[in-house]
């Protein structure tokens, strides 16, 4: 008879037996390895896939239909660029445990911080507007006018985020974007001329006309968007990745860059093999969603535009749900004001005001009648490309700061590549601004 209370003690089960044991004891509570890897192989992939949003689809489609295979090499270069930039951000996240905007605030003079964050806000607002335009364009294919679809979508997203239930529908949107894999098949079925494809992918050719230069900057702005860098760094911080398990993170970043740009490359390929080829090699300027959807016709036939619309809808909703919120978090964290979806309006007025404002701007612009959709989107991403150097210089400055990064600053070769990229991007951005400004006065310096 037991005299004393038993504190639920049964014979010892050594941990080794648990792992090597049989049947029910096997593994036990331990999370399967695969899940851990999937958990870490995440932020980079998501950030990269998010790059293939409404603006991305249109940018890559336009690159293919206007310039054929001749811009494929750009994606090869941008894959390297994206890998370099995202790797720096994840490394900073892992070493410092702080987000990019936090580091900017803590290490830059206050006015520089204000300038960088203003540039960031501007770029993000542009992307948000482009997502709402994407949503409206997708609904247009189903003959729903944008003055109905845009406000309804805006209200829905606003409500989902405020109610805190956005996370539940996110996977649905993500699932919708799967249809963009159709570009792989469309590209093959269009029977492209593989010789020129190969040449276009490896031989850099630059055409000195303003259309080409502007498209180049737009491609840079779409592929290496400022918001992706902030996103990927905060995701690393959020997951508590430290330098000990950093190698997995590095693999994630590199594989994500390759994967997302491969998708982009196939969009260009599909459009080049159809739209560009059909135009007799002159190139065709896309005007609306229906034009862009034609590239999928070899694979999907008459369903092309409907399937395209579904994918566009998913991609745009996905980004339109995440971006306003993450923008508000970055900005309010830098300002040091209250933030968080669990705060009320009067507790976090700046946070909710900014959030609502960004959605309203997106909705209002998307509602404008007779909007030249593709041209507006390309210009918004051009804005991203112009703002990008500011963010890149900030990243380089921080990642090479010994006080912050200790032994994990950039190595010399890495720095040459990173600075090289930054200078090229800056030159392109300046060139595009000059072209735009002169164009505004009716002067054309390049053909």
């Amino acid at each position: 008879m037991t005299e004393h209370p038993i504190k639920g003690g049964t014979p010892t089960t050594p941990l080794k037996a648990i792992r090597k044991g049989t049947g029910a004891l096997q593994r036990g509570r331990r999370r399967p390895r695969l899940l851990i890897y999937l958990g870490i192989l995440g932020p980079g992939l998501i950030a990269a896939s998010a790059g293939n949003d409404a603006g991305g689809i249109y940018t890559y489609s336009s690159m293919g239909s206007q310039f054929g295979y001749s811009m494929l090499w750009v994606m090869v270069v941008l894959t390297l660029g994206m890998a370099i930039v995202q790797e720096m951000c994840t490394r900073m996240g892992a070493v410092t445990g702080k987000g990019l905007s936090d580091l900017i605030r803590e290490n830059f003079p206050i006015r520089i911080t204000a300038l960088v964050m203003l540039a960031f806000l501007l770029a993000n607002a542009g992307v948000i507007v482009s997502e709402f335009i994407g949503i409206a364009a997708a609904f247009n294919i189903f003959h729903i006018p944008s003055w109905i679809s845009a406000p309804v979508a805006g209200l829905l997203l606003w409500w989902l985020v405020v109610k805190g239930s956005y996370g539940r529908v996110e996977k649905l949107f993500l699932a919708l974007t799967v249809v963009f894999f159709a570009y792989f098949f469309a590209a093959f079925l269009a029977k492209p001329d593989w010789g020129p494809v190969l040449v276009g992918s490896v031989v850099p050719t630059i055409q000195f006309n303003s259309g080409y230069i502007l498209m180049l900057v737009t491609a840079v702005g779409t592929t290496i968007s400022p918001y992706m860098q902030i996103y990927v760094q905060s995701a690393v911080v959020e997951r508590g990745v430290s330098m000990r398990d950093y190698w997995q993170q590095r693999i994630d970043v590199y594989s994500a860059a390759i994967f997302s740009n491969l998708v982009a490359g196939f969009i260009i390929l599909a459009c080049a093999a159809t739209l560009f080829a059909h135009s007799g090699g002159h190139g065709v300027v896309l005007n609306d969603a229906a034009d862009a959807a034609l590239a999928l016709a070899p694979f999907l036939g008459r369903f092309a535009s409907n399937v395209f619309a579904v994918g566009l809808l998913g991609a745009s909703f996905l980004a339109a749900g995440v971006l306003p919120l993450s923008t508000c978090y970055s900005i309010t964290e830098v300002l040091g004001v209250e933030n968080g979806v669990n705060k009320r309006w009067n507790e976090a007025p700046v946070f909710w005001g900014l959030f609502t404002g960004l959605i309203v701007i997106g909705v209002v612009i998307a509602m404008l009648p007779n909007l030249p959709v593709v041209q507006v989107l390309l210009n918004l991403y051009l804005l991203n490309g112009i703002v990008l150097p500011v963010i890149l210089f900030s990243i380089l400055r921080l990642v090479n700061d010994k006080r912050l990064m200790g032994q994990y600053t950039n190595g010399p070769i890495f720095n040459v590549l990173a600075y090289g990229l930054t200078f090229i991007v800056s030159l392109l951005a300046i060139a595009s601004v000059v072209i735009q400004v002169l164009g505004f006065f009716g002067i054309q310096i390049l053909g």
Partner: protein, 446 residues
């Protein structure tokens, strides 16, 4: 009290006694008292100034500063010693190490960012000290749009007394700094957990180093197992194992399960053997089963015991289990559950010689260790129980599932998060205790 606002001091002239400019102010250096928060001296005194002159930064010790005026700082002598500034232990630069960095607002129990700083004199003293931080949005706009919004800070700006903030030594990595985290240990573990979420991992590790094992254990229980595992992996193993011992075994098992295997084995090996056995035992069950959700600390007594004896035995227990509302009654000589009795009924039983077998409720609702976690949790709410015994095939008790663990399974993640925040911050009043305790009816035990 006359206040000097840091952002407005930077750049002003340092003048000699002929009122000629000899340098411009670059930064202000104060000395941090390692016992801040516990001792009398809370406000860091001015140690000196960092000034810029002739293309170099020079150090001006506080003894050479004669007066702070509106548009200049008067120096005591004609000579400026062109001594280069070398950081000394315990000294921080306001501009470099405090401004724009994060602190904890102890009163508000939240992480804030320093938008500006105020220096002032404590009554009866001559020397300046750092007395407050400005966390207002207005201070920020004033710094960005200097010329537009006027020079002087408005009275409406919220100043936070330096005595009410917690500084992090990791904000000033260039210097050896000892900062007491005594004030944070007064926080409710749920508040600390929330603050941990907002801090960088260096700051978090620093706070963990400064707190007692028991407080760290309570805080880790509030975090997700994954986050808790990350934090424990940063602590030296001997201490990490001590912290694990302080944690409830079911939570400790969740945390250990999220660690690298070698690390987990090392920590378990360092723990007291009876504590680590509890954890190892729980580790054997899959996470989403009743076994994976249960804790193995509970009260189990033989049915033949009399009330007085039972109470004495409970009081003599070396380790008090967290949950003691129910007393499980075992078939004498075995660990098979025969019944359950609430501790209240045992305590208030008028006849001290009554056997537990007479008091107990024989119809015990229990689950097998392999029952899915959700099903087990649902059972708790259906019958309005506060705990549910988990048994093996022979009816031997293995552990119990308490209602708070069940709640974690039943509430969707985002809702739980929102409820937590809603209740904790309602009008700034902190509600302690489990908010759901009142929603569950007490089990009627006869």
């Amino acid at each position: 009290m006359e206040l000097f606002i840091f952002s407005q001091l930077v750049g002003i002239s340092l003048v000699d006694n002929h009122r000629e400019k000899v340098a411009a102010l670059k930064d202000v250096v104060v000395r941090v008292n390692p016992q801040a928060g516990t001792s009398e001296e809370t406000y860091p005194p001015l140690a000196g100034l960092l000034a810029h002159t002739a293309g170099r930064d020079v150090w001006i010790p506080v003894g050479q500063v004669a007066a702070f005026e509106d548009h200049a700082i008067q120096l005591a002598s004609v000579y400026v010693n062109l001594e280069r500034f070398v950081r000394r232990d315990g000294e921080i630069l306001l501009g470099q190490d405090v401004l724009d960095k994060q602190l904890v607002d102890v009163e508000g129990r939240r992480v804030v960012r320093v938008n500006d700083l105020a220096l002032g004199r404590v009554p009866g003293e001559q020397d300046l000290r750092l007395v407050a931080v400005d966390i207002s949005f207005r201070a920020l706009t004033r710094r960005v749009l200097f010329s537009l919004s006027g020079k002087h800070p408005s009275l409406r700006e919220r100043l936070l007394d330096w005595a009410n903030v917690q500084y992090f030594a990791s904000n000033a990595p260039a210097v050896q700094l000892h900062v007491s985290h005594e004030r944070l240990s007064q926080f409710h573990p749920a508040d600390l957990a929330r603050i941990f979420d907002e801090l960088s991992h260096q700051q978090r590790d620093e706070v963990v180093r400064g707190l007692d094992d028991a407080i760290v254990a309570d805080t880790l229980e509030e975090l997700s197992p994954n986050e808790a595992a990350d934090i424990l992996e940063e602590i030296e193993e001997e201490r990490a194992s001590d912290i694990l011992e302080e944690m409830r075994p079911d939570v400790a098992a969740d945390v250990v399960a999220d660690m690298e295997e070698d690390k987990a084995e090392a920590l378990l090996a360092l723990m007291e053997s009876d504590e680590s056995e509890d954890v190892r035992e729980l580790l054997a069950y899959p996470k989403d089963s009743a076994g994976g959700m249960m804790t193995n600390e509970f009260l189990l007594l033989p049915a033949s015991l009399e009330v007085a004896e039972a109470l004495r035995n409970i009081r003599m227990m070396e380790e008090q289990p967290e949950f003691v509302d129910y007393l499980y009654v075992a078939e004498p000589g075995t660990e098979r559950v025969m019944g359950v009795v609430s501790l209240r009924d045992v305590v208030f039983c008028p006849d001290r010689a009554t056997q537990l077998a007479q008091l107990m409720e024989e119809d015990v609702i229990s689950v097998h260790s392999s029952t899915p976690a959700r099903e087990a949790a649902a059972l708790l709410t259906t019958y309005g129980l506060r705990a549910l015994p988990v048994v093996d095939e022979e009816g031997k008790i293995l552990g119990i599932i308490t209602f708070d663990d069940a709640l974690d399974v039943l509430l969707p993640d985002d809702l739980r998060e929102r409820i937590g925040h809603l209740f904790v911050f309602h009008h700034g009043h902190r509600v302690t205790g489990k908010l759901t305790a009142s929603t569950h009816e007490d089990q009627e035990t006869r």
